[in-house]
């Protein structure tokens, strides 16, 4: 188990000109236990995944704002234009509805577009194409028209970007039958899930996180292999435990792992589940864990009402009610648009102490 051993990088966004052509260096905050093991940033993991899939399949192409000459707003597509040329990497105008529709049309004809949204907030301008043109087509055409497209980009809160640039779209997209929705956490997740998404014959919404791009994670030889793929629809138990189950995805996995460390100091053994896949949701793994621990804290960064946590809570209540020893606890973003002031922003997002407190409540250790 590598747990939470990683270096964290402070990266306020991909826009600084100094980031052009430079690999991100990081502050060392933890020692790496596994001597000699490789590490990789999430950014490099995503970049290598796209690179390998483009190399393997000439039908794969990349499209989005600044993905080519600018090297990617967050440098995820760095080097791809130089390597594959302008016939595989397309810079688009700032017209999400138009270029997303074009991407979906290309997928109808059998190509495999990887469409980047600079953030998923902008996907709302193209949401009709994601849902009505992509997600539903295979069904409406009874299998004639499948749509092997990936919509990817940063999702959720960054740092100080305000209300219009901080929303999490996991719950919105994951409610739509016909879509697959993935949310990687580690570099291994990023590589394995993105490669699986690009190879998948169905439309995939791939929710990254800007603040994770610069984080380094240990990565196995297996994960570095060009054939490496993770299964879609399977969650990962990041840390085993027996007293309480904590489910979450994306950046919150790191917070949950930190919370588990704190809880361990107080004698509570928390099992942390990294969902990896929001749709399909791995209800089996979640319920098996809850049946083992009898308590559930479900965590997400997005708005609380009608969120991913609500779905998980419903699933557990439906399938494992008699195993629960305490009500399901939900930790989510505050029910407010994201404020700008740093102190308010901190209050609007789940923090490690919120997860710890909820876990203790579930374990009857506090009010």
């Amino acid at each position: 188990m590598w747990g939470i051993l990683r270096r964290s990088a402070v990266d306020g966004g991909g826009f600084s000109s100094s980031s052009l052509g430079k690999t991100r260096f990081a502050l060392v905050s933890a020692r790496s236990y596994a001597a000699g093991s490789k590490e990789m940033t999430v950014r490099d993991a995503l970049n290598s995944a796209i690179d390998e899939e483009m190399s393997a399949d000439p039908k794969v192409f990349v499209m989005g704002e600044e993905v080519g000459q600018y090297q990617g707003a967050y440098k995820i597509t760095k080097g791809l234009l130089e390597k594959y040329g302008p016939e595989r990497v397309y810079d688009t105008p700032i017209t999400e509805a138009g270029f997303t529709g074009i991407g979906v049309g290309a997928a109808y004809a059998g190509l495999k577009p990887v469409v980047e949204f600079m953030t998923f907030n902008f996907s709302m301008q193209a949401i009709d194409h994601i849902i009505n043109s992509a997600a539903k087509s295979n069904y409406m055409s009874a299998g004639q028209i499948n749509v092997p497209i990936v919509f990817r980009g940063p999702n959720g809160a960054a740092a100080g970007v305000g209300a219009q640039h901080s929303q999490c779209y996991a719950a919105w997209y994951a409610s739509v039958p016909g879509l697959k929705v993935l949310a990687p956490y580690s570099a291994e997740d990023a590589r394995g899930l993105l490669k699986a998404a690009i190879r998948d014959p169905d439309p995939v919404v791939f929710l990254e996180n800007e603040l994770l791009y610069g984080e380094s994670f240990p990565i196995s030889e297996e994960a570095l292999d060009s054939s490496f793929c993770l299964p879609i629809g399977k969650a990962k138990i990041e840390r085993e435990g027996k007293d309480v189950t904590i489910t979450t995805f994306s950046k919150m996995v790191g917070f949950a792992l930190k919370a588990a460390e704190k809880l361990a100091e107080e004698g509570i053994s928390a099992e942390v589940i990294n969902l990896r896949s929001i749709r399909p949701l791995d209800r089996a793994t979640i319920n098996a864990s809850v049946r083992k621990t009898s308590r559930l804290v479900t965590v997400e960064e997005g708005f609380p009402q009608h969120g991913v946590c609500a779905e998980i809570c419903a699933s557990v209540v439906e399938e494992s009610f008699s195993y629960l020893d305490a009500p399901v606890e939900r930790i989510a973003g505050a029910d407010v648009p994201m404020p700008y002031a740093a102190n308010l922003e901190r209050l609007a997002l789940p923090q490690v102490e919120d997860i710890v407190r909820a876990a203790k409540r579930a374990c009857y250790r506090s009010k």
């Binding site: 529709g101 074009i102 190509l111 169905d202």
Partner: protein, 389 residues
């Protein structure tokens, strides 16, 4: 057949020799040149010639195909009123010339994508009548197995990509199809059809901008039937010269009720798109029915207007006149052909009525190509839960 080759010489006005054997005009492909009644109007390009090269077999096929489309839409009207078709049903009668003229100019490897008014476009691409009626009635035999409905007909093997319910969405999708054609270095083009209502959609301009920047072989075809649902063009468009709305993109205005003019324009557009990128075609056409079966079509236009168009511009009548004046067929032959078509359609309707509804298990099929063990649920998930395989 030898007789027909002898009978139709280069001068089409000479009466063919009559014998007791029926003339096999439907196979005669000797070129005939006919002038379109209305000139083309162009924007940023030179209009094609008004002289259209055709043949008697082609004009006859126009007649038969349009008659079939007309009867199909009328049959759909009856079926809808009999409540055998539910939901939305948008009929194309009046606009048939567009579907047949376009097909005459292109191949089945050129792609077509259109809106929800798609029944006749589907038939033009080679779709079968029984599949169309079955789909309309929600039966298994439907082209989408009954799961799509009127607005979601597809025929991928003929490069017909639907059938779209969201106004304007088909335009960027069509530009995407063109993108794929260019990417694959195929010498084919895509026709993205939309109405005068959709012509104001922002995504049209977004997609056209990209198509022009990237030189995509995309042909945007505005089927201007003068009404976006109940709103006339003068109330919805500041500039109703739709063929000019592409601004920097060339355009052509075409008499959309003249199948030969449509053919000429589409042929011209295909050549243009392969060499120079996108072009906009505006087809001046008309729909006899209202926007859909829920719309009587008479609250925003007069009955005189509708009957006036029917008398003066009906596409099938124009072709009938052409066939009669060029002596390609007699009145009786054409009436017989219409009877055959009517029977064809009636038989297809009867067959479609025999088709069963989809199995309940079909509720859960085709959501994904690769199901990866996903679960899906019915209304009561404890009652109906399925693992997709």
């Amino acid at each position: 057949m030898a007789l027909s080759r002898l009978s139709l010489r280069s001068n089409p006005f000479l009466k063919p020799s009559t014998t007791s054997i029926r003339r096999h005009v439907s196979t005669d492909t000797t070129p005939i040149t006919i002038e379109t009644a209305v000139p083309f109007e162009s924007h940023l390009c030179d209009a094609p010639s008004r002289s259209v090269v055709t043949s008697s077999s082609e004009i006859l096929s126009f007649f038969r195909d349009m008659a079939r489309m007309r009867r199909t839409e009328i049959a759909a009207d009856s079926l809808y009123k009999a409540k055998m078709i539910r939901g939305f049903c948008h009929l194309y009668d009046g606009q048939e010339a567009l579907a047949v003229g376009m097909e005459a100019a292109i191949t089945k490897k050129d792609a077509i994508i259109t809106s929800y008014r798609d029944h006749c476009t589907f038939l033009g691409r080679g779709g079968e009548l029984v599949e169309a009626f079955s789909e309309l009635m929600g039966r298994k035999r439907g082209c989408s197995n009954g799961k799509g409905g009127s607005m979601h007909f597809y025929k991928k093997d003929a490069c017909f990509y639907g059938g779209h319910g969201i106004v304007g969405a088909q335009i960027p999708l069509g530009c995407g199809l063109a993108f794929a054609q260019k990417y694959s270095k195929e010498e084919f083009v895509t026709f993205a059809l939309y109405g005068d209502g959709a012509a104001n959609q922002g995504q049209l301009f977004e997609a056209l901008n990209i198509a022009a920047l990237w030189d995509l072989p995309a042909i945007l075809v505005c089927e201007n039937n003068h009404y976006g649902m109940g709103t006339a063009t003068w109330r919805s468009a500041k500039s109703p010269a739709y063929f000019k709305r592409g601004d920097y993109v060339p355009g052509l205005k075409v008499d959309g009720m003249d199948a030969l003019a449509v053919k000429q324009a589409c042929k011209f557009a295909k050549e243009h798109a392969l060499k120079n990128g996108p072009i906009v075609l505006e087809m001046d056409t008309y729909r006899y029915h209202g926007h859909s079966m829920s719309d009587p079509g008479s609250t925003y236009r007069t009955r005189d207007e509708v009957s006036g168009v029917r008398q003066v511009r009906d596409p099938i009548e124009r072709v009938r006149k052409l066939l009669l004046s060029y002596d390609i067929a007699t009145e009786k032959e054409l009436k017989d052909m219409e009877k055959e078509v009517r029977k064809e359609v009636d038989d297809a309707v009867a067959q479609a009525k025999e088709s069963p509804v989809p199995e309940p298990s079909e509720l859960f099929t085709n959501m994904y190509v690769k199901d990866c063990g996903v679960e899906s649920f019915g209304a009561d998930r404890k009652e109906l839960k399925v693992t997709l395989t």
